[in-house]
Amino acid sequence: MEQSLITSMLFATLVAGTPLIIVALGELITEKAGVLNLGAEGTMAMGAVAAFAATHYTGNPYLGVLAGMAAGALMSLLFGLLTLTLMANQVASGLALTIFGVGLSAFVGKPFESLTLPAVPAIRIPLLADIPLLGPALFNQQSLVYFSWALLGGVIWFLYKSRAGLILRAVGESPSSAHSIGYSVIGIRYLATTFGGAMAGIGGAFLSVFYTPLWVEGMVSGRGWIALALVVFATWRPLRVMAGAYLFGGVMISQLFIQGSGLQIEVPSQLLSALPYLATIFVLVLISRNQQTIRLNSPMSLGQPYRPDA
């Protein structure tokens, strides 16, 4: 293979994996607190449309990212209100959030369809970007790609080195114990859920402002769900989230490259497009097969409502 092809495939893989990393790390924090938010798909859609609108009106993509983040946080607050305050079923509420988010984004996004935004230029890191083969792919990237790396470092530090992370893990393992030694379980779960929503909003913003600078209904096309699967695939460990996200990015990109390469192969394009979804199923099966691993690593109170008796 040509060098430039390797570089550009690597570059594209990192870009494709980035929204997955951001969204999945957000969901990871939410789940570590014991909250299962299945609304990532709808939250991303809202983040994407909010970011597009804000960028369209202000011309500043970073204000767009902020808007996407705010929209995502608001969506997750709605979820928190339902599941944490009103103690609704988390699975049903997550589905509701997705249905609502996908619908609302289509509704408010109608005026923005068929508009485009100017591409956001990449940020080149001097010297590092000159490394042959890898340099241009790794260090001449979109700002949010760098952000996803920083986020990974931050999440690892938070979960395993900080006291707040210790409290978060404790709440996710046994909310009743955490309550009895005096922690506000509901408050901590709200924070974790809001963080997850904000990250899903940024993930959406990346899609509509950086990745393909336009808004189309349904443009998230399952990435929110894939991010949820990634968290399981990573057995709730941040580093593996990144590995999994790039694996998926690789699958998405290679099928695009094959479709666009004009290679005469006897495979229908639809099958190639289905690859990311089939790959998701495949890795889920692969990792879930070992129930012991899942049970050891998943937060023990995941998905269970908690209400302190007052």
Partner: protein, 360 residues
């Protein structure tokens, strides 16, 4: 000073569990009024266009019933699974596969007319949906893979599959390259119930499925087992009810019902297979199942309501120049309000009036 306190009820309130959907509907309509005025429309006019216009004529009512048919069918199947905590949310994909199965039969039969064409399509539709649902069932029971994610991923795959079919092998040669199959022959179309409308035999079929679903859920031992599995998994294991069997039944029944709905769509109002065969019925039916309290009688009414939201969206597009996706906003609101007001099934609010002390 007013103070509010939430208290656990000693027993779940049955009254509240029936009242809660009604409260949710009322709140959704209220939300609708606010939404219309926020969009700069006259809220009363918006309300009329959205909720009343579709029902002005008998034709409108027949369209409402027509739209409600797939929702009823899918929601009953899903409810059986949901009661057992089997979260099949890929009904949209199973719907598509049902439509494909039925289309396969219809196309294979060609113009040959016969009384067996429709029954064969019904069977093929149900089998198609069930087969698609069997994938998450197998992966869940054999490898413990989460059925929510697997069934959902398969929706995307099903959409690509139907797109391949209508762009490829099943494309109508005389269809000017449109992504659609040949029109079905008359013997492959469901007979109309009322001339001049599009309402067809599938409505009767759906009512039959509702009745069967009711008996299954409320009177059968198997239905009881599934309820136990959903409400207390440890109790089900203690009693000896096989969890794997519950997963299989929940998914297969859900898939078969969704497949049936897909068959009814291609053999009914569409008359052919296109790549747009699924228009969100599979997801809307999730809301129908919840709003209907996972109970066939409730599902009947909830599907009418949901169908009204679909039609209202079309009306809003025509007369208020709002995007049709407004109906999805309403659907989401409805489910939110329902989940929220369900709180009062298990809790009650104590409002206490305490006189403020002087100086407070």
């Amino acid at each position: 000073m007013l103070s509010f306190k939430l208290e656990t009820r000693p027993e779940a309130s049955r009254t509240m569990s029936y009242l809660s959907p009604l409260i949710a509907v009322a709140l959704t309509m209220l939300g609708g009024l606010l939404l219309f005025s926020a969009l700069g429309k006259d809220p009363l006019e918006g309300f009329q266009v959205f909720f009343l216009n579709p029902l002005r004529h008998w034709y409108g009512v027949s369209e409402l019933l027509l739209k409600a048919v797939p929702l009823m069918l899918i929601a009953v199947g899903l409810a059986i699974g949901f009661r057992a905590n089997v979260w099949n949310i890929g009904a949209e994909g199973q719907f598509i596969l049902g439509a494909c199965g039925a289309t396969g039969v219809a196309l294979a039969m060609g113009d040959s007319s016969g009384p067996l064409v429709l029954p064969a399509m019904v069977v093929a539709g149900a089998l198609g949906g069930a087969a698609w649902a069997a994938i998450p069932a197998f992966l869940r029971t054999r490898f413990n893979a989460n059925e929510i994610l697997v069934s959902l991923m398969l929706v995307y795959v099903a959409q690509l599959l139907v797109s391949w079919l209508v762009f490829g092998p099943w494309m109508d040669p005389d269809g000017f390259n449109f992504p659609q199959s040949k029109m079905f022959s008359d013997s492959a179309l469901l007979p109309l119930l009322v001339e001049g409308t599009r309402l067809n035999l599938a409505f009767v079929m759906a009512l039959g499925v509702l009745v069967i679903g009711y008996v299954f859920m409320h009177n059968s031992y198997l239905g009881f087992k599934m309820r136990v599995a959903g409400e207390a998994a440890d109790a089900a294991r203690y009693a000896g009810f096989s969890a794997k069997r519950m997963v299989w039944i929940g998914l297969l029944v859900g898939g078969a019902c969704a497949g049936l709905a897909g068959m009814a769509e291609v053999a009914g109002p569409m008359g052919q297979l296109t790549d747009k065969v699924a228009s969100g019925y599979g997801f809307a039916a999730i809301i129908v199942a919840f709003v209907g309290r996972l109970n066939p009688i409730g599902i009947f009414f909830a599907s009418l309501l949901m169908a009204l939201l679909f039609l209202g969206g079309e009306q809003a597009q025509l007369y208020l120049s709002l995007p049709a996706s407004i109906s999805k906003v309403f659907q989401g609101m409805l489910l939110f309000f329902l989940l929220g007001s369900d709180l009062f099934i298990n809790y009650r609010l104590r409002v206490r009036l305490t006189l403020a002390k002087a100086g407070d």
